[in-house]
């Protein structure tokens, strides 16, 4: 278990959308955890070279994409 979803307990009350499912703190924490995990799969890949190179080229006032 992750400790990352620690704020869920005090926010229990603010779930007012009363549809068919009651959103308990467990669910909320679980969803938050999955969200962050999913997101971090991409974030952890860092900055692919293409962006680094592209921005460097932009930075060069003579570059302007005309020359590789």
């Amino acid at each position: 278990m992750n400790k990352s979803g620690s704020s869920q307990q005090k926010t229990k009350v603010d779930v007012r959308v009363s549809e068919t499912v009651k959103l308990g703190p467990d669910n909320k924490a679980k969803i938050g955890q999955q969200l962050r995990l999913m997101y971090s799969q991409v974030v952890d890949q860092g900055v692919p070279n293409r962006f680094d190179e592209m921005l460097k080229r932009l930075d060069d006032p003579t570059g302007e994409g005309s020359k590789e």
Binding site: D14, V15, R16, V17, E19, T20, V21, L23, N27, K28, I31, G32, Q34, L35, R36, L37, M38, Y39, S40, Q41, V42, V43, D44, Q45, G46, V47, P48, R50, F51, D52, M54, L55, K56, L58, D59, P61
Partner: protein, 180 residues
């Protein structure tokens, strides 16, 4: 030129999160990268409209979201037409169970209305405040709050169907189950 260097660094720093947001919007890594690239070019060309002292990251997210939405309007269904291939390309998780779980979660997320999905991601994953998310989406703070709540409720609903993982990557089956 040092200000430009600062801007460049700030942009670079935002890239990982921008990519993650873009992947979650369009469900496809290649298209997400194109979207990020277009965002950076657009931002660079419009540096004048960035207000120093405000969040560069939020500004870039706003541009990316707008680009996506105009593209989305053009492509409509095609954008949502994704099979599991993009998820496979991301499964760096060692453990089989977490992989299944996270793929299931991605599928569930895709069943949400786009507004709910983006709001939930901005607040729950990108780490923006409700206020920032509202700014990025061009709506009221209360709207973001209610979208996030709805999104969470809906996800809990979808994910509570235990047998979902047995269906395999059949989007339509899941959509049917989901709408009943």
């Amino acid at each position: 030129m040092s200000r430009r260097n600062d801007v460049r660094d700030a942009m670079l720093a935002a890239v990982p999160s921008l990519r993650a947001f873009a992947v979650s919007l369009c469900g496809n890594v290649d298209r997400a990268d194109d979207l990020v690239q277009e965002t950076l070019l657009r931002a660079w060309a419009n540096l004048g409209s960035f207000q120093p002292g405000t969040s560069m990251s939020a500004w870039l997210f706003t541009i990316l979201r707008n680009l996506f939405r105009s593209e989305y309007r053009k492509r409509r269904r095609e954008v949502e037409d994704v099979d599991g291939s993009y998820a496979e390309s991301l499964t760096s998780l060692p453990d089989q169970n977490s992989r299944l779980e996270i793929n299931e979660f991605r599928e569930a997320l895709r069943l949400l209305p786009p507004e709910q999905r983006e709001s939930l991601i901005l607040v729950g994953a990108s780490g923006f405040s409700y206020e920032e998310a509202a700014q990025i989406c061009g709506c009221a703070v209360g709207t973001i709050k209610s979208r996030v709540n709805r999104a969470r409720t809906r996800l809990a609903e979808i994910l509570s169907i235990d047998s979902v993982s047995d269906f395999g990557p059949d989007y339509e089956t899941r959509a049917v189950v989901n709408s009943s």
